[in-house]
């Protein structure tokens, strides 16, 4: 039996009276790519935020490799292995491509509080960062400011940052959002490569059904913040819940 890396147990968050994520209990195993689907406002991104720590749970828990991380701040969860890429590109725009990735490697090696050495003297960081940039084929742009990159390349850099974090759990939130039909496959290929190489677990929030069909080992469906379905892609996609959810009718009517 494969190892469970991440579990959420009755994970819940309420904003005022609104329950955005409603008692979601789910576990994610090593070597598995799980797609999280659901209509807009179903709580997919909030569920991600609860796992990576940007939002604090009202109830329930998040466990990473058996350890309860529910109360840990974002940075601590990140260091423990929860790697997160964001739906809206979220980078350091005034720094170069290389510096963006170098910062991640530097964080992973716990070198942030090194005050008196020259950052440029740590060539081992640059080497490691370049290796990641080569993987996502951004190395020719290493010295470009990130703010000046095309949207597609910024999305690639988001993936690069996640790879550089070398997390236990990879969390992609709509990695192809806003990309053209030509650009999207590049990022999806990167995720496919990652999936082939890794024995970690990958979580993917995605709207495009063809993407999900080709990548996912498993699909979970969120609807009104609650877990509505969970299983292998063929079964889940054929199920009534998905059909109904994507047709926009309320499940209660079914």
């Amino acid at each position: 039996m494969t190892q469970t890396l991440l579990e959420t147990d009755s994970l819940t968050v309420r904003f005022g009276g609104h329950v955005a994520v409603d008692a979601v209990t789910c576990s994610f195993r090593a070597g598995e790519l799980t797609a999280i689907v659901g209509p807009n406002g179903a709580g997919k991104t909030t569920y991600f935020n609860l796992i990576s720590g940007q939002v604090t749970a009202s109830a329930g828990s998040v466990r990473l490799m058996g350890e309860d991380v529910t109360r840990d701040p974002v940075a601590v969860r990140c260091r423990k292995g929860l790697g997160r890429a964001f739906q809206l590109t979220n980078l350091f725009p005034d720094l170069t491509v290389l510096e963006n990735v170098r910062l991640v490697i530097q964080a992973r090696r716990r070198m942030g509080f090194n005050l008196f050495s020259m950052a440029s003297a740590h060539t081992e960081l640059t080497v490691a960062a370049m290796a990641v940039l080569e993987r996502v084929r951004l190395e020719p742009l290493r010295d470009q400011k990130v703010g000046a990159l095309s949207h597609g390349n910024q999305r690639k850099l988001e993936v690069a940052i996640l790879i550089a974090l070398d997390p236990v759990v990879y969390m992609f939130d709509e990695p192809t959002a806003g990309m053209s039909v030509d650009e999207a496959p590049v990022v999806l290929d990167l995720i496919a490569e990652l999936k082939a190489d890794t024995d970690r677990t990958i979580l993917l929030v995605e709207h495009k059904m063809d993407v999900i069909r080709s990548l996912a080992d498993r699909i979970i469906v969120l609807h009104n913040g609650a877990l509505a379905a969970d299983g292998d892609p063929a079964t889940v996609m054929a199920s009534d819940v998905v059909q109904e959810a994507y047709m926009g009718r309320d499940l209660a009517d079914v």
């Binding site: 940075a75 980078l91 991640v104 509080f113 950052a119």
Partner: protein, 354 residues
């Protein structure tokens, strides 16, 4: 070899502009040989003040320019260092031990106070930190003027420092200049300032400095790649406070006097802000340019205007406008012009112009 040494000294952060390099070299040489190039009490006073303000402004740049933290307590930290030396010298008697104890105690007190303010308020929004620093700085200023038994109140403190650092100590003559203890004192200030500046330059170019810049750009993402933002901001604040206190100690050793007006006043806080903005935020070298220009203007603009006013005596209106009493007006005009034409400061302008 020489190039490598220079690179390490500047922490790989070169001026990156020919004009800037020349200006910085001119300032360095001017300050290094100030007693010989510009003999006289007043010019030495100005040179020492420039050295000290370079450190003070650079330490503020670490906060404002590199970390994006707005603080109004920088003069308070400066004052803590100055009063540290003054109090130690008053109570321990003249001596190097008093200077050392006062300096270290001042820097430590500044760092601890910064730590408390930081942990208390940096978790929340940046504006809250700015308000807290304003409140604490005002409280300390009031406290210093009220506790006159300890601090001398508004009159401040006069105290003795080791004789070797005072004008009474004569060493002989060099290049036609009488070498007195005051000149030794100047070199203490100069080399300590140079060292502190290079230290700050190293810090902003260290892995830590890179994290600060990342946090300034996008603190949300910095946290999400594993940096505890609040700890980095707090450490930057402590470091900046400690260096400001060291600058204050140098000022106290140089002046042999401390008082609320010279070390704690809100006016100095505004001066620091102007210097860092005029020079260029987030560049370190901006502190050098800003402090030099500003202190020179403070000390010589009035003379210059007096001369100009005299020269235009026959003309209508102009002599009145150029009257030395109007110097603040012209400083204000200069400030507005410089912000308008060089929004990234003089250093930013020079770097983009090349």
């Amino acid at each position: 070899m020489a190039a490598q040494f220079l690179n390490r000294t500047l922490s790989g952060d070169r001026p990156r502009s020919l004009i800037l390099t020349i200006v910085l070299l001119a300032i360095l040489i001017g300050l290094a040989f100030a007693p010989f190039l510009f003999p006289g009490v007043r010019s030495l006073e100005t040179a020492a003040r420039i050295c000290i303000f370079i450190v003070l402004v650079a330490s503020y740049d670490l906060l404002l320019g590199y970390s994006g933290i707005v603080s109004f307590a920088h003069t308070m930290f400066f004052g803590l260092g100055a009063y540290g030396v003054a109090l130690a010298s008053t109570h321990m008697g003249r001596g190097y031990d008093a200077l050392l104890v006062g300096t270290l105690a001042g820097a430590a007190a500044a760092a601890v106070l910064a730590l408390m303010i930081g942990l208390f308020s940096l978790r929340v929004r940046a504006i809250f930190f700015a308000m807290i620093t304003l409140a604490v700085a005002s409280a300390v200023a009031v406290l210093v003027s009220q506790l006159s038994g300890l601090t001398g109140g508004e009159d401040g403190l006069n105290y003795q420092i080791p004789r070797e650092l005072t004008p009474a100590f004569k060493l002989g003559e060099l290049f036609g200049v009488n070498i007195s203890g005051k000149i030794l004192n100047y070199y203490l200030v100069f080399f300590a300032s140079l060292l502190l500046f290079l230290l700050l330059l190293r810090v902003v170019n260290s892995p830590f400095g890179r994290v600060l810049q990342a946090i300034r750009e996008n603190d949300f993402r910095a946290e999400a790649i594993g940096y505890r933002v609040v700890f980095y901001r707090t450490l930057a604040t402590c470091l900046s406070a400690a260096v400001a206190a060291l600058a204050g100690s140098l000022f106290a050793i140089w002046l042999r006097y401390v008082g609320p007006d010279t070390t704690l006043s809100f006016e100095i806080m505004l001066d620091i802000l102007l210097m860092v903005v005029i020079g260029g935020m987030g560049t370190m070298y901006g502190a050098v340019i800003g402090a030099t220009l500003f202190v020179l203007a403070q000390n010589y603009l009035q003379n210059l205007m007096g001369m100009a006013s005299g020269a235009t005596e026959g003309l209508p209106l102009i002599p009145q406008l150029l009257d030395p009493d109007r110097w603040l007006l012209w400083l204000g005009v200069l400030f507005i012009l410089s912000v308008y034409f060089f929004p990234t400061g003089i250093v930013g302008r020079l770097r983009s112009g090349d």
